[in-house]
């Protein structure tokens, strides 16, 4: 075999050997323990901070709102859908009984027309609701541009929640 072919084979052999060594060195230590992934990844993900709580934890303090909500269209909607993630609030808010909550524990109170419009504005792609049935899988659509009422006395535009109770619309 000519020398240059031997050297070429040598270069390829070094390349493949390097690859195999790197494969051993760089392979994450816990890889393959539980399957084709890094077993430690499970713990790393479990350690990420949580933001949301379970729906029942709201009911502990806000029973009245829950019973309102259970009678209306929003029965299946979790509190955090409108009010934002509430784990911190659920854990620490009861320490501030009769006192004002610090900003970090306050939840969002959606009250503007645009808040309701996120779900209820007209969208041709959504299936239309039938008025006579209570079907909670469908979303009531309103043309927000047309459906607005002004206060007859002050002539100011009213918000949705001035007429509709958001917990029992």
């Amino acid at each position: 075999m000519p020398l240059h072919i031997k050297r070429l084979i040598g270069v390829f052999a070094i390349f493949i050997a390097l690859f195999l060594v790197m494969r051993q060195v760089l392979r994450p230590s816990s890889f393959g323990e539980l399957g084709h992934f890094r077993a430690k990844a499970i713990n790393e993900n479990a350690l990420r901070p949580m933001h949301y709580t379970v729906a029942d934890s709201c009911t502990k303090c806000h029973k009245d709102i829950r019973s309102d909500k259970d009678l209306g269209f929003h029965i299946k909607l979790k509190c955090e859908v409108c009010h934002g993630p509430g784990l911190k609030h659920a854990l620490y808010a009861n320490r501030f009984k009769n006192k004002e909550l610090p900003d970090s524990l306050l939840l969002y109170k959606p009250g503007e027309r645009k808040d309701c419009a996120i779900c209820h504005n007209m969208n041709r792609a959504r299936i239309k609701i039938q008025f006579d049935t209570i079907n909670t899988t469908m979303v009531h659509q309103v043309n927000v541009m047309k459906h607005h009422v002004t206060d007859p006395k002050t002539k100011e535009a009213l918000k949705c929640i001035d007429c509709h109770n958001p917990h029992q619309p």
Binding site: R23, R27, G84
Partner: protein
């Protein structure tokens, strides 16, 4: 929370109708458009080189070396758009050290490595070894060291050794042709096998990708050859260009037919996704599909090349045509990739809505980044042409 809502309003303003939350932002940006584009250029350029080497189209000799070096330069960069698209680019090697047979992308890593090392590297090495040995003696300094290093400090340029190099080079090219088909067919396969996306999921996808790759690669080599001749103040070999144009014409016909077949099939079958796709094609993709890809990138080149098969204007006019046409074809194929990659993510899999693609000038996924990965191969090519100029090679007959 108000800030989150503000973001939500902004995001929702990009959306028409109903889309699932994970479809609002496009995960595969312009960099993923570049990946099949650059890989296609590699496969196409190599196939043009193999026409000379295996299929003995001797008239293409002036472009053989350029085609090989072009393929190699673009191959070195082909994975870079993918790597820079990753959130953690430093983990890119993990695809190679922990591959899984069910991952099409992981297997692509090996197909890529095979093509780069076993096909392109070996073919160029065997093709240039004798010249590198000779050039090493005629140069000094760093260039001499590079030649010595690349020829692995061997000096055997006896007719026997050169004949062996030629023989092995030929075998490598023979292996290279199916490998080139595999490489780019595979890129099409990655898209074609995504069964959840009706715009991608077709068995024709690998074949379409393959032929469009050939079209783009041939056009690129044609362009580089003309520009290079201009820079070197050499006369362009018009017979060679006419022959390349002929092949470009043939393959463009096949590519056009296949894509047409794909669309006709889609229209005739009219699956449940059809209406959504119809709206997409005549809406958000209208310019990129019908104007840039269809009209400017395919129909105009097809008609021009077709006319040239019957009627040959003066060499000067033909040269001008051969300079403009590849640019149009390259643009057309770029938009073909664009329409596949971006188009496939613009409609909701609920078929009820559409989202918008917007990318910035700067940033890891921006236009500048994309432009960088298109320019770098040309810099590598310039270096390779300086180091291994095909026009200074000793003529070998490749018999």
């Amino acid at each position: 929370m108000t800030e989150h809502l503000q973001n939500l309003y902004e995001v929702l303003s990009k959306v028409e109708g109903y889309v699932y939350p994970n479809e609002i932002e496009l995960n595969w940006s312009i960099l993923i458009v570049l990946y099949p584009y650059i890989t296609g250029l590699v496969a196409g350029a190599f196939i043009l080189a193999s026409l000379e080497r295996i299929f003995k189209v001797r008239i293409l000799k002036p472009t053989y070396g350029i085609a090989l070096l072009t393929a190699f330069s673009f191959m070195l960069v082909a994975t870079m758009p993918l790597v820079s698209h990753l959130g953690k680019p430093l983990r890119a090697y993990e695809i190679m050290i922990t591959p899984h047979s069910s991952s099409a992308m992981a297997i692509f890593g090996f197909v890529y490595l095979w093509y780069l090392m076993v096909v392109l590297f070996l073919e160029i090495w065997f093709d240039y070894r004798r010249d590198m040995v000779i050039w090493a003696n005629g140069t000094t300094g760093f260039k001499r060291f590079l030649y010595k290093l690349l020829s692995l400090w061997t000096t055997d340029i006896s007719p026997k050794a050169v004949a062996l190099d030629d023989r092995i080079g030929y075998i490598v090219t023979v292996i290279g042709v199916p490998s080139a088909f595999l490489l780019h067919g595979y890129v099409g396969f990655i898209f074609g096998s995504i069964k959840a996306n009706p715009w991608w999921s077709t068995v024709l996808m690998p074949v379409i990708f393959l032929f469009s790759a050939m079209v783009s690669g041939i056009a690129l080599v044609m362009l580089i050859y003309i520009v290079l001749s201009k820079i070197r103040k050499q006369i362009v070999d018009m017979d060679c260009l006419d022959t390349i144009a002929k092949y470009l014409f043939y393959i463009l016909i096949i590519d056009f037919t296949l894509e047409g077949l794909d669309q006709i099939h889609r229209i005739y079958v009219a699956e449940e996704s059809f209406e959504a796709l119809h709206k997409l094609v005549f809406g958000k993709l209208f310019y990129s599909l019908f104007i840039y890809q269809g009209l400017m990138g395919t129909i105009v080149p097809l008609l021009t090349l077709g006319t040239l098969q019957f009627y040959k204007p003066k060499a000067k006019i033909r040269r001008a045509i051969y300079l403009i046409l590849p640019v149009l074809v390259l643009m057309g194929i770029f938009f073909m990739r664009w329409n596949v990659v971006i188009g496939g993510q613009l409609f909701s899999k609920s078929f009820y809505g559409y989202t918008t693609f917007k990318t910035g000038l700067i940033g890891t996924e921006g236009y500048l980044m994309a432009a960088t990965w298109l320019i770098v191969p040309f810099l590598i090519l310039s270096f390779l042409l300086w180091l291994l100029p095909p026009w200074k090679k000793i003529e070998t007959s490749h018999e």
